[in-house]
């Protein structure tokens, strides 16, 4: 399969990339390419210009930042798997090795995955549950957006045509915290049938902030805010987790497809949120 013709640009600096992006009509950023190239081969996307940012210094690297993490847009999924800094964030560490397959993870990037905004993408749910923000840069300046405002619709983000996502900022989890990412997939490398990202921050035996978001069950990754709210101040017990599971399932909006019926997926959301919360609470107690 061959993509449509395009002009290829390989800037050496971020400023040059931003200038190209502002000047060129119908340009796309090429990061890891593990989503963009497949959709170009199928000609779902046929940009006139590709701006390859892979050789721009400063867009990679995972840096501890104020107890949280600053993740460069070009950080590959497998760097998230092997990073010592990420190991301190159990929900992120659980998600990283479940993304795509080991070879795709060598090229696919965190920033590219978020900017692609596939509702079946895993990082969107993880970043929603973590309360992360993305930094967007253009020749006009820089702005930071909460991930919930960044993910707008299927394959649609708040990125303006002249903007590049430069990094993701994951805040520190307060108190003693735990989290995980549960993913149901037919085989390694398949998109999630359902995914659930769960994080709990505990203090004095009760739940402070809960983060819950879902993969593959809506037009974007679904932020289960009612389920989160139901847990604030609650004791971490089975009843509280069951109620959160029920609310998360109600917030999901899956469609029936080859991976399962809508009812089945909603059921999996319920089970995964309950199970994930129990594991997160266990992790928080051990932390």
């Amino acid at each position: 399969m061959l993509p449509s013709r395009f002009d290829y640009h390989r800037p050496e600096t971020l400023d040059e990339a931003l200038r190209l992006l502002a000047e060129l009509e119908d340009a796309k950023i090429l990061a890891g390419g593990q989503s963009l190239i497949p959709v170009m081969k199928l000609r779902f996307a046929a940009p006139a210009h590709l701006i390859d940012i892979n050789r721009i210094p400063g867009l990679d690297g995972i840096e501890p930042s104020g107890g949280g993490l600053r993740i460069g847009a070009l950080v590959r999924h497998n760097e998230m798997v092997s990073s010592d800094a990420v190991a301190g964030f159990p929900m992120l560490a659980a998600a990283a090795p479940q993304i795509a397959d080991p070879i795709v993870r060598n090229l696919g990037s965190v920033g590219g995955s978020l900017a692609h905004a596939d509702p079946a993408g895993d990082w969107g749910a993880v970043m929603l549950a973590a309360g992360a923000a993305v930094t967007l840069r253009s020749a006009r300046g820089e702005r930071e957006l909460p991930i919930g405002e960044f993910l707008v619709d299927v394959f649609t983000t708040a990125l303006e045509p002249d903007e590049i996502l430069t990094h993701v900022t994951v805040p520190a989890a307060g108190g003693s915290s735990g989290g995980t990412y549960l993913k149901l997939e037919r085989k390694i490398g398949d998109f999630a049938t359902v995914g659930a990202a769960v994080q709990l921050e505990m203090s004095n035996g009760t739940i402070g902030r809960a983060g819950i978001a879902l993969t593959g069950v809506g037009n974007t990754n679904v932020h289960a805010t009612e389920a989160e709210a139901s847990l604030a101040g609650a004791e971490p017990n089975e009843d509280a987790f069951a109620e959160a599971g029920r609310l998360a399932a109600a917030a999901s909006n899956p469609v029936s497809d080859v991976r399962g019926s809508a009812d089945y997926k909603r059921h999996v959301v319920d089970v995964f949120v309950r199970r994930g919360l129990a594991r997160a609470a266990e992790g928080a107690r051990a932390a």
Binding site: S4, F6, Y8, L30, P38, D52, L107, I188, G189
Partner: protein
């Protein structure tokens, strides 16, 4: 666009369209057909090559992205660059015995042959490259490490058992005759 890629240790230059996929650059421009096109949708891993030592799916990368970088394909596995003409001509592992006449097989190729790590051979070049990258990083992998490493590569013949055994044999692990 003019690109120069170090392929199996030798610099190769060509003028290519930006939309030319790396796998087509390798197979059609360089005529190294040991790298296979399987699913063409980033699923099966048959097109895997090592880019600066790291496994990538060459159907999901443009040739121009490899400009100035280094690639190892299955043809690069035989030591001393002593390729058998048949191999350079585009056959891969099914002709692997022929390699003995001219060149020396890589340890991984020997192990796949000895342990019957292949049946039809279509997935084999990629399996061996992924395995080589694994052993470069982890010289004594567990069976689980091996299975994890090849989980992006599909084999429809072997059931993977002998592939795992072959990789363990290449790692120098003692492998039971029957498992």
């Amino acid at each position: 666009m003019q690109i120069t890629v170090t392929v199996n240790g030798a610099e190769r230059s060509a003028d290519v369209e930006p939309r030319l996929l790396l796998v087509h650059f390798i197979r059609e421009v360089l005529e190294l057909t040991g790298t296979h096109v399987g699913c063409d949708t980033t699923s099966c891993g048959a097109c895997t090559v090592l880019l600066d030592g790291v496994p990538v799916k060459s159907c999901t990368m443009f040739g121009v992205q490899a400009d100035g970088r280094s690639i190892t394909s299955v043809e690069g596995l035989a030591q001393n660059g002593n390729l058998h003409p048949v191999q350079a001509d585009g056959r891969s592992l099914t002709t692997v015995e022929g390699l003995k006449q001219d060149g020396q097989l890589d340890r991984m190729q020997e192990a796949f042959k000895e342990m019957h790590g292949l049946q039809c051979g279509f997935c084999t070049p990629a399996m061996m490259l992924v395995a080589k990258a694994l052993l470069d990083r982890n010289p004594a992998p567990s069976n689980e490490d091996v299975r994890w490493a090849i989980s992006g590569n599909i084999c429809r013949c072997t059931g993977y058992m002998n592939i795992v055994k072959a990789i363990q044999a290449a790692a120098g692990a003692s492998v039971p005759a029957q498992a």
